[in-house]
Symmetry: C2
Subunit: 217 residues, 2 copies
Amino acid sequence: MQPGYKRQQILDVATDHFGRKGYERTKWADIAADVGIGSTAIYHYFESKQHCLYELMGQALANFQERFDRNVAAHDDWTEALMAVLVDLFDLTEREVQRARVVVAKQGLIAIPRTLPREEAARVRALNGTRDLEFAWGAFLARGMGTGAIPDSDPKLLARAALGLYNSIWQWCRPGGTLSLDDLGRFFVDRELAILGCATELRAPCFPPRRRSSLDL
Amino acid sequence: MQPGYKRQQILDVATDHFGRKGYERTKWADIAADVGIGSTAIYHYFESKQHCLYELMGQALANFQERFDRNVAAHDDWTEALMAVLVDLFDLTEREVQRARVVVAKQGLIAIPRTLPREEAARVRALNGTRDLEFAWGAFLARGMGTGAIPDSDPKLLARAALGLYNSIWQWCRPGGTLSLDDLGRFFVDRELAILGCATELRAPCFPPRRRSSLDL
């Protein structure tokens, strides 16, 4: 077994529980039981259910940031980079969808300082993760305005609008229904392009076949 | 003193506390103290802090619904009705902004069934309020598609996108900053029109002078 394997297993089980039943209704002891670990031993990995939540959020945000950076770096042309970033937002595994749902549902908790030291450190990492991502989007959009690819406006406000629309999806969308991630992606990439003020002929991108799952509305 | 006055006073004080400090950090006893009522007497009005939250959400949703219906009924022309609805979304008092912030921050709690009878009844009212509003938007957008005012698409998805973008504003926007509600409204009404696929010449509506406050980003 690799080092960190058990820790990641706890995070994965927690993601499934939080995403499916909701954070409040998930008992910390149930996660321990599902992982096959004593409820004392689990405290070696996380100080609390909330510590686990913050770590899970931090991972999700780091993943979104890494993917964003990679897609931006892979394209010299700004518009091509934008399309790659937007299409990639919907290339998610079922667990990544659940994780996005948890991040969106509990993002309010990121603002509240905690007393347990490791819990607080994880919270601050998650908070910085959201700020970094928002800043990266703002800087990227400002560059698009500079090149004339999108109309001038306030890049910070525009980043918040684009991310706000995307996050809102995970408030009602859950894995396992009739709508595919591709259909969802096609609809919302178009709307993101519209928000940013992109020319109409850019719309309706082609979604390559990838890993994905159907969703429940 | 009018009947219901004290009850509304509790709701108003709770709105200010929840909006400013957050729901979790607000003590139920502090609300009682601010209203000048004993912490036993306050239970005559609300079974719990969460009961009060649900009532406050239900009021907010009923208010949004009533304003939506009024604006739609006031215009025979679909596009004029849409503009009236969108501009009205930003005609908010400072307390209404706080209330919108509370609704958005705690909307996850609407899905969790409760055991206290009046609390549960208030939760169900709030839940139905969100569904009714979403349904009304969907029906309105379907009518716009029928008249050719906006391009055909899934009205339910489009309603969720339009409402999702609007709700996301209240996740980061708070009263008392440098950005006016008018500036915020101008920016986001344009983006809502873009999401809906409205023709470009409709953009940048005129905001009449009304009650409002500045906002903090």
